[in-house]
Symmetry: D3
């Protein structure tokens, strides 16, 4: 059994299927997210002529990625959870891109969940980052991490309070049991990009918060090391 | 000029217009949110027969609440920001309601922004809580705060990093200038319900985080006092 | 009790909340409509380059404006009643604006019902006119009523046949009981803009029509006087 | 040339194509509306168990019914004009049906404009009435006009002010030129069902109103005679 | 009773109602389709500047064209069957038009089913072709069939396997009983444009296929003769 | 280079990711389709109580499955091509299932294209069949192919006319160049389920048809052998 401060096993296939310059199958335990990315010369209308670029993300779950089949988002209405997640992914990726240095380019990162066992949004950020780097490098060959437009790396992990215990990297079963659920996004240099801590019908105190953030930081350091190794 | 650890002036009209049992015009500086609430005996389909209730919230901005007119959400697609905000309000209110004790009842809280000058979602939570209490009391006369179904009070405030300084209660101008923006929701007894800290194209470190949370806690204590006084 | 030829009490707050140049809280008895207006330099596509302007209106009821909460118009489909009402408001306001003299400008008037007790559409026209004048004056300072682009004033009132009696200014209870319901829109100079008389599962004869129009004219004269006094 | 108080030629084919019990091709000059009707045992949800029926109407224009092709209403959004017209048709037909005597039945009348030359909504009411009678008689054989559920007949005509002259039965060209446009719906026994008089960027006075109503009544008397003759 | 290799009676009214240059009421037995067509100078965005034209088709059934009323396609979602049919009609008509020779013109053919008794899509192709020719000739007077842009004629018929027998031209009753249903589209010169053979919960063998195609060819030859006679 | 009567290489991973009983990654050359399937006890409303089951399919392309990113079908409107394809897949699978013997069960097969290089719909049928068998066997353990409910196998292939030559199994480049494109669906026992032959701006004659069908039959025999081997 996994210790409460231990990440699930990570497996990264790159390049994977798809016809995009960035294409990564990112697996964390039984969660599998296909992250693909490409760069276009067409920025959104509201950015035309500003001399800077944009990074956007889309997130979706394949219908059979979950135990009980989930309907597709086809009713003209993307559900609230999907919207929140893809906005989070987009913001997280933009935090490590110098949009000015990117130039008038639009990077689109698609995160399609093939198999879901908790932590799909953090897997999407961590794997999506790798796909984004590959895509940007296809447009700007040779660009280095730490140098504009790629100012840093970014990775994410979930932490939570389960049965009064603070736990790293929640799979579906843990997430279901958690009173508090927190997603933390950090850069490779150890700065926070996002903290989203939520008690659904529950609350948490200062001590728990401190421990949640400590575990998250430790997990993200390991994910960062893995990203560096893959992209080296 | 307001100090960086000072809340904007709060003004609460109760009952205000509308025909609902809960009806509050909540003003924080130049932000004004009409919070109305009612209780129905019809819970959503997926809750029928479970013997417990639900609290849901909707959020909208009137078109002329902002300087430049904003189109109504009528295109069959509620925008992502609206969805995120109304989900946050709903979760925050549910954190202080014992849904079992509420019984098979549905509480709906509407937060309509009449005038927007930053902090509309935190105003919606703080004012919406008052409207919710009035609505629940209309169905369960005499119920007290701290006693199920009303297990606690809840209030929210924003904090941020502006020009390197940590600031409490961002109005539009401060929010626009902020590198980091954080919304904190806490109960009257001082426990966290939500922390949503975001760096849009920016990041923050541990020291900033500590100061952001300290200021937020201080602001929420004042808002809680105000809520208690109104509902006494 | 109110006589059958007596208007409800009118109360007008101006400017009210909102950030638009025109902003009026118009109350007629227990009906309260927030009318806000602004002027933009962008006319609709089909008017570009014609050298004339346009006036458009939107109407909505806040969910808790009625006794039983009413869902928002968010399903991608504005309901038929809403569409009819906002088209009526737009036509009524345009009847007193010289669109040529307005120039290539777009005036948008929003009428949001905060509390509904019958007569919301006529309140929206009467109050919306005031907001529109303020908005036009913000773009064309000093322009006078009776002088292009503001060629006249406009106001509206409902009349009906209730229990065989002709009655002025129907509140919700009267409207519900009415066999015939008529909305009349007239200019300050006493000319008709719109007559919409409807018998839902009922009909009316010539004598009733004559009396309905007589009462409506009398009511509109009082509303016109009130508008003039406010705008003076 | 047609006199200003003269109706266009009426031609009625009955039964026409379609597989419904009521099926009428109603032509007034160059306007042609296919009116079809049927009766179902399923009333709308909100009427179930009330022991009374309902009459509803839908209106549409075929894309090539107008000189320049008009797009179909397929975008998930029925346009405002269509909504207003089909509500008017429904109300007009219900005014001459005793819904209690109809029993728990739903009558649906479809009015599809094959060729449009002004006056399509009044043609739809006048022709739709005939289709409705046929449909009701298919469910309630032998029922007479003047006897519940068919309490009366109903017909409609347009009148307007064109170049300062009051004119009966506006075709497209007259309608386009009209400063004031009024649709009048009356029963066979001479009572008003609806009066919808509109000045788009124009107004009208008492004398014009009187003349408009006089002409409308005269036209409707002729249409009523024609309906009686067909249905005898 | 009709023999298994016999077409239903064809009746063609041309011009019929509508205000388009092409306007045909095409009847095959109890199936009646109103085919109208017009030519516009505006091609779709993706074709602008390519110097060639486009032919598109829309298909719809009037609600009362079937025995039990069918709802209109108004929910923002054209149903799958409608989409398939109108794509088939469009492809079939384009097969006999030289789009280069047509020039930057857009031909739109509307096929509205007034009465449905099986074979509406093949009637739409056969009748729509006639309307299309009339429309193209209104833009390019005097153009001949067999000469660009009208390179050939096109017609369609259904065949099927019913109770083990191969049958030509299925009406609703035959179609309902058919194990295999095939629509064949051919040019006047006897070449295939489309073959769509489908066994819904059934299959067919080579011998049946050969006989289905033989009957279809024979039927289409008769339809072609009829088209030539009309257009001569 | 591949001969004109040669299939592309087939590779089948089973089970693949996903949490459904049927889960197959089917690759034909550079086309890769993830086919997943599950069985539910809830049939569609219109089938309840009929004692028989249903098989349905959905088809989608991941945005980066094509060289240029393709938008998701999220606008409330599944595009026509997608609708046609998923209806074809559903019909093809139902042709080899005895719905009566299946009992009141709903089989849903999802075909998500991860990489597209032509022939995605035929790959979806051939691979979807395998996933469907696995799913049905999870509900009805031990059921054999050739025994109800699995009455036969089904597979599909495309053929076409390219530069005047008849070719088997079109990849994207061949498909783009093809004047005629035909999809053929056959059972393992050699009977036709569907023939969809289309000339887009082109036509074909009897001799070409004969050769197209001969090649298709030959290809499907090989695919059937492959399916049998996998499922043995």
């Amino acid at each position: 059994m996994r210790a409460s401060d231990q990440l699930r096993d990570i497996e990264i296939q790159r390049p994977y299927l798809g016809q995009s310059p960035g294409s990564v199958l990112y697996r964390s335990g039984d969660t599998a997210v296909l992250c693909t990315a490409s760069v276009s010369d067409r920025v959104p209308d509201w950015m035309v002529g500003k001399g800077k670029g944009w990074v956007t993300a889309e997130y979706a779950m394949l219908p059979h990625s979950t135990g009980t089949r989930k309907s597709r988002d086809r009713g003209g209405k993307v559900d609230g959870r999907t919207t929140e997640i893809q906005r989070l992914i987009g913001r997280s990726l933009r935090a490590v891109v110098d949009l000015q240095a990117l130039g008038e380019r639009m990077v689109t990162v698609d995160c399609d969940v093939l198999q879901a066992d908790g932590g799909t949004r953090t897997a999407a950020i961590t794997g999506g980052y790798i796909a984004m780097v590959d895509a940007i490098r296809s447009a700007l060959p040779g660009c280095l991490i730490g140098t504009p437009p790629l100012t840093d790396s970014v990775a994410a992990v979930s932490v939570g309070v389960v049965d009064g215990r603070v736990v790293l990297d929640l799979d579906y079963e843990l997430d279901f049991a958690a009173a508090v659920d927190m997603n933390v996004v950090m850069t490779g240099s150890g700065r926070f990009v996002e903290i989203q801590g939520t008690g659904e019908e529950a609350t948490f105190d200062d001590a728990e918060l401190t421990e949640l953030l400590r575990l998250a930081r430790q997990g993200i350091e390991q994910l960062t090391a893995r990203q560096q190794q893959i992209l080296a």
